[in-house]
């Protein structure tokens, strides 16, 4: 089943076209990667899917059109996201941060404390629950942000450059956690990343975007050998 379908998506800010005729589909319970040079429009794509921006075209989630919905409504439909620059509620503790997701992200009543604890367990933050958000290092900040997103019980999770700025060990831990989320919770993941190694390990499908246009879509292996992709990233083959 296709959990997410994006059709003829277009977005311009004034005269600048940021996304052009973007078309792709994501299979349920897959891990789908998105890569591309900086400024390619990847984060804008996430903003369009989650309702922070409005564009032209169709965004279909679980066979229902979701354009025009506000971010909190899209959260209730089952899409969660993390942000490239870690965003947290600095006045609150780690646990409280996650309970915001647990309470507001789920439409009908739920046991917020239980959901929050489960989410924190999955990302490996048990024991740090009462830490003030201001005291967390960058890895813990990212994991708290992730836990809060998980606490909304999403079916689709959008990760925006989750591994940026982390040490190799932390990156490895993150990958393991993403795999766990996908396999154990059955959450579909769409991940934007720069590190090909990460994408190659996680994704079954990978899409490269350049200047808002889709250049290529396929398995990590196919994509890394695609002529246009190499051109875009490296400026052309050596023996061209």
């Amino acid at each position: 089943m296709k959990i997410l379908q994006v059709r003829k998506l277009n977005k311009s800010f004034g005269g600048l076209t940021v996304i052009k005729d973007l078309d792709f589909e994501v299979d349920k319970e897959d891990i789908f990667g998105i890569a591309g040079p900086n400024g390619a429009g990847k984060t804008t794509l996430f903003n369009l899917i989650t309702g922070f921006h409005r564009g032209q075209g169709d965004i279909i989630f679980e066979n229902k059109n979701i354009d025009g919905l506000k971010p909190h409504q899209i959260c209730h439909r089952g899409i969660a996201r993390t942000f490239q620059v870690p965003q947290l509620f600095m006045s609150l503790t780690t646990f409280e941060n996650v309970t915001v997701g647990a309470h507001f992200g789920v439409e009908n009543g739920c046991d917020e404390k239980k959901n929050a604890r489960e989410a924190l367990k999955i990302v490996g933050l048990e024991g740090k629950e009462d830490a003030a958000a201001t005291s967390l290092n960058i890895f813990d900040k990212k994991m708290t942000m992730l836990a809060a997103a998980l606490a909304t019980k999403p079916k689709l999770l959008l990760l925006d450059e989750p591994v940026g700025g982390l040490s190799p060990t932390e990156a490895k831990q993150s990958i393991a956690i993403f795999k766990k989320i996908n396999k154990q919770l059955g959450v579909t993941i769409v991940i934007i990343e720069h590190l090909m190694k990460v994408l190659a390990e996680l994704c079954s499908q990978l899409m490269i975007i350049h200047n808002g246009e889709k250049i290529c879509i396929g398995s990590p292996q196919e994509v890394s050998e695609h002529k246009r992709v190499i051109e875009v990233y490296l400026g052309g083959r050596l023996n061209a």
Partner: protein, 337 residues
């Protein structure tokens, strides 16, 4: 069971003020001053709920207070209802006005919210004094005279006997401020802080930003409107005099001294600022100068106000994060490098 520090502080303030009349009931000017402290405490804390907690840059709190006073006074004069009911009506009406102002503010950035809400403050005086105002019963330039005092059972409150007024003010303000306490520690309060700290993150987690912004406009205005009504029945006269800048600045100072976003800072600030303002009257023209100096000292030395001094919390200011990093470098622990 351990009590929260903020509730404890609130109970201390109200506990002390509850027994004060035993010693000072004969001193009518001090009694009056403390009654005004109770009233300003509600206004200041309601304002802090919007400004300190929800982060909504509103400058309309004084206007809402005046609307509440007029509404309650007019309700008793024109509808003949009891002052108690009138206060409730005033709260609801003030909440409605606040929501109407809040609607256009939803999409505006901080500075523009300040301008729009302050516009309410600016147009209120001419509006109340205008022909339209007189037509609906505001009393024009004169204002409302002979507003009915409170009464319980057979007893009618009188300006000659301040002890009943004192305890009525104490009870009503405690009720309203306790309600604010409950809201701060509820999911509503969480939503307010979420929108303030990281709006996009909050929205992505399901927090309906517009709903909670309008809610804080409504709730903050309700409490302010009710106490505005109390003020009308206490003073017995309602005019546009308090729409000058004095009260506005004083209420701001209350929040700053007490600690913004640190319940019950605004309450403590209300008592300190009101009493300080009164004490400084002996300084004549130097009153404002000294007052201003006090504010500057507080802002520089105690940025989190009195609550920040009494109950210091790990600071979230960038300055302190920088100093923490510097400390770490100088301690030179291998694990920190």
């Amino acid at each position: 069971m351990k009590m929260r520090k903020d509730l404890f502080s609130l109970l201390v303030v109200f506990g002390i003020s509850a027994i004060l009349p035993i010693f000072i009931h004969a001193n009518t000017s001090v009694m009056h001053l403390l009654i005004m402290c109770f009233i300003w405490a509600v206004v200041a804390e309601s304002w802090d709920l919007m400004l300190g907690y929800a982060g909504v840059f509103t400058f309309g709190q004084v206007a809402l207070f005046v609307i509440g006073s007029y509404a309650s006074g007019m309700a008793t004069i024109q509808l003949g209802i009891s002052p108690w009911l009138a206060m409730l009506v005033a709260g609801l009406l003030t909440a409605l006005v606040s929501v109407l102002i809040g609607l256009p503010c939803l999409r505006l950035k901080a500075a523009y919210v300040a301008l729009l809400t302050f516009a309410l403050h600016m147009i209120l005086e001419p509006l109340l004094k205008s022909d339209i105002g007189r037509a609906i019963g505001t009393g024009g330039s004169q204002g409302l005279l002979n507003v009915a005092p409170l009464s319980i059972g057979g007893y009618t409150f009188s300006s000659l006997e301040l002890v009943p007024w004192y305890y009525a003010a104490l009870a009503i303000s405690f009720l309203l401020i306790f309600a604010i306490y409950k809201i701060i520690h509820s999911w509503w309060g969480m939503a307010f802080v979420a929108i303030h700290d990281a709006e996009s993150f909050g929205k992505s987690l399901g927090v309906d930003e517009f709903k909670y912004k309008l809610l804080v406009f409504a709730v903050s205005a309700f409490f302010t409107g009710v106490i505005g009504g109390f003020y009308a029945h206490y003073i017995g006269v309602v005019s546009t005099r308090i729409l000058g800048l004095d009260l506005f600045l004083l209420l701001m100072v209350m929040q700053v001294i007490g600690g913004m976003g640190r319940f019950p800072g605004a309450v403590i600030g209300a008592f300190i600022a009101t009493l300080l303002n009164e004490l400084l009257r002996v300084a004549g023209i130097y009153r404002l100068v000294i007052f201003g100096a006090v504010v500057i000292v507080v802002v520089v030395l105690m940025p989190e106000g009195i609550m920040g001094v009494l109950f210091p919390v790990e600071k979230k200011r960038p300055f302190n994060q920088v100093s923490n990093s510097i400390n770490r470098i100088f301690k030179r622990k291998v694990s920190d490098l």
